[in-house]
């Protein structure tokens, strides 16, 4: 049988096999898995489009009391505004499954965010929770900071005070601010991984 002519095909087929990327855990030090989601204005947003910038991923759910506390106290919107002006792309992701009672339409999310002065770059809808799975996101809020090279530099909680009352929220040590300050200033992010707290993501 004459099959030599297929050498190239075989070689390219094996090349495809090796090119398939591995799925790594979403923890500090790891490359941030790429994803494309539609935002609340119908625009497709791809993570890798922000290569070259710092990106913050914030898992959110307006139904969650923890999220409500961070928005009602203006803690989260304040942080979004603070870093948005410094060219950090802040992406809030609602991964509530479209079958769950927490699922919100784009219009509902827009209304809630504008009522709470949400100042993020975009609010993304992850109706099949696939992106949450990709990042092993567990809670709302669950925060990831990604550097311009596309690596995760911080993964975990928004701050160190899971039980803070509304009044105390702004006094907590905000891990996202700490991480962004250190990373943009060329310093080592510490802590780089913390245990996230909040409501379970409505997978």
């Amino acid at each position: 049988m004459n099959m030599k002519q297929h050498m190239l095909v075989i070689a390219s087929a094996l090349a495809f096999a090796t090119a398939a990327g591995p799925a790594l855990a979403a923890a500090a030090g790891q490359p941030a898995p790429d994803f494309t989601l539609t935002d609340t204005h119908g625009k497709a947003v791809r993570l890798s489009d922000y290569r070259g910038k710092y990106v913050v991923l914030e898992w959110t759910n307006p139904e969650c009391p923890f999220v409500q506390r961070h928005y009602n106290t203006r803690n989260m919107p304040g942080l979004q505004k603070e870093w948005g002006t410094r060219d950090v792309a802040w992406l809030s992701i609602d991964s509530s499954n479209r079958d769950s009672r927490d699922y919100k339409s784009a219009a509902q999310l827009n209304a809630w965010m504008s009522a709470h002065e949400g100042s993020q770059k975009a609010v993304l809808i992850d109706g099949d929770s696939a992106t949450a799975r990709l990042y092993a996101a567990k809670t709302t809020p669950h925060m990831f900071v990604i550097n311009p090279e596309g690596r995760i530099v911080y993964a975990g909680a928004i701050d160190d005070r899971p039980r803070a009352s509304s009044d105390e929220t702004l006094k907590a040590k905000n891990y996202v601010r700490t991480a962004l300050t250190a990373a943009t200033g060329g310093a080592t992010v510490d802590p780089a991984n913390t245990t996230p707290y909040g409501c379970s993501i409505a997978y």
């Binding site: 030599k4 095909v9 398939a20 799925a23 494309t36 809670t139 802590p191």
Partner: protein, 740 residues
Amino acid sequence: MIFNALVLTLLMAVGGVRVSDAAPVRTAHVEAELVAEQSALIPGRPNTVALRLVMERGWHTYWQNAGDSGLPTTLTWKLPEGLKAGPIQWPAPRALPVGPLVNYGYEGAVLLLSDIATVPDFLSGKTVTLSARADWLVCKEICIPEGADLSLTLPVIADAAQVTRDPRWIDAIAKARTSLPRPANEWNVTATGRGSTVELHLAPAAGQDSAASIAGSHFFPYVEGQIEASGVQSLTHQGTDWSMSLPVASQRVGEFRRVAGVLVWGDASARRALAIDVPLAGTVVAGSTAPALTAPPLKLTPPASGADTTLSLGTAIFFALVGGLLLNLMPCVFPVLSLKVLGFATHRENDAAMRHHGLAFGAGVLVSFWLLAGVLIGLRAAGAQLGWGFQLQSPAMIAALAVLFFVLALNLSGVFEVRQFVPSSLATWNAKNPLLNDALSGALAVVVASPCSAPFMGAALGYALAGPMLSTWIVFTVLAIGMALPYVLLAYFPAWRKRLPKPGAWMLRLKQLLAFPLYATVLWLAWVLGAQLDNDAVLRLGASLLLIALGLWAWQTMRTGGARGWGIAAAASIAGALAVGWPVVGTSAMDAESNVAKRPAADGPWQEYSAARVAQLVEAGRPVFVEFTAAWCVTCQVNKRLVLDTDAVRDVFARRKVALLQADWTRRDPAIGAALAALGRNGVPVYVFFRPGKEPLLLPEVLTKQDIFDAIDTPQSAATLDAPLNEQAPTSRLIPSTGG
């Protein structure tokens, strides 16, 4: 003393003092109160009190480590001078699946015990009020932070003889106590880090050979960020020793120098817990995938049947050899096998030359397997959950294979002749290197074999990929030897070859006939592509193939004396095929995962697999049958048509109320990869039967109806099928009465 008691009795009689406290506080989803074990505080000794939380059905509160989400309940005491409250003593928690996540906590009712210490000279005779602020997070689909200010008023009586136990709480407190973790005195416990798992080993301490069984244990770490809460823990039992494999958290937090937590076993009515706190030897790396979103929070013991992870190297080698041999008969390899045998019939060279052909072919197979092993080892080291056939999870690979099979088929059909297709210089070079041709056909055989998993292969590969690199290499080598063996033997023994029919006109017809299995393979690959991507992709592939056929035909026309224009037409067609097909090839697996809605794989009685769902169903007393499958897996499709989709099997499943779950690995899915790894496998098909209270049962890769009937333990006669194993509805959850 007597006076005190008298006064107290008097006071109580007139109703001035209530030994018990106010009514329980009701919040939206919880009823909370402080309760005391005894009717009075006795100075100088610990007095047990408890925060009693009764959750609304379906809601839960949390253990000291909440698991993937949630917050532990807190209790802040405000006590009179001379009293001091100890920390909360947490009864054994339960693993509570919430979607793919797992929380640690309590449903139903729970008593969180605390000892109130009194100074010895604490004034007896008076009554004291113990106040506490309790805060808890109560969750179902949503979480609500709740709290209450609670109090409990008790008299202080020095004479223990006059103090009675409060009958309302005797049982509940006793039950909570029995499920408090005990020190693991009768065990020697060690913990060793082995990469992304921690192995906990329990051996009975000296003189403790009758140490209790801890079958069905689940380990709950005290802190999050060390052990993956939702990961699969596997418990194995050897003699009197127990070994538990715990998955390291994918999002590691803080130091991990000790393994500390509780080991919990027993059912809701008698839960037992052992406190573990041992140094961690060895090294750990963060779990590379996210088992959080994957694997069942089950007490999953690898099945003790012949094909499991405890395979010895010798058995694995034997399985690999037999698996490699059988691979030749699998539907995806068979056309290639036929082509090769045809090749033997054509070549009537001297015996030495034939031997060289056979060896070259074998070398091609071997090197391809090594390449595959190298790629697999590399990608797995980088953290990918991959297994046999992994390359078929990439739509680009499927498209490339479809083109390969199609071009091969066109060649067999005689649409174009190969020698004219290759530039003359290369053809000459090839003619001088006939052995390279054999080696390449060996490589081709391996490429087309990848969608197939033969019997015995699954177990061997599971062993290969779970073990060290050397064992991976050995098993792949033996697989290659097994696959190449028939050809090599045929090449070495001329006597065997003589039995092959003489060449003749029939060979051309057979060659043309063999094109059709290849066309069928293309059809199947197109279907796989459709499952991975969408209709458009199938159309693009089809159009691409059409243009390739046109191009090759035009090329052939030119080579057999046609005008030069045919050559241009051929080049244009091939360019067109590339342009049309490129979007398919350019679609990365990532896009396929995130952009395309999940294929509605689960149809009819089949539901989509999730680890949590398995746990939930098994806990509810339902037997569960899980099919790990993929559209590109031929063996899977065969099993589906011949066994799973037959009326007899469907009927047995329905009568025995077996819940059917399907895990579709057509596209890369770390969750399914991790679940397979937990079963000691890394390829599909895998069929597992989970039964309440029993170990999960792995069924053979090539299924028969009888395997299913045996697994369900059902004689095939319809008369005995009427008694269901379990009548419990899938939604009825056991309400745990941990501590209450």
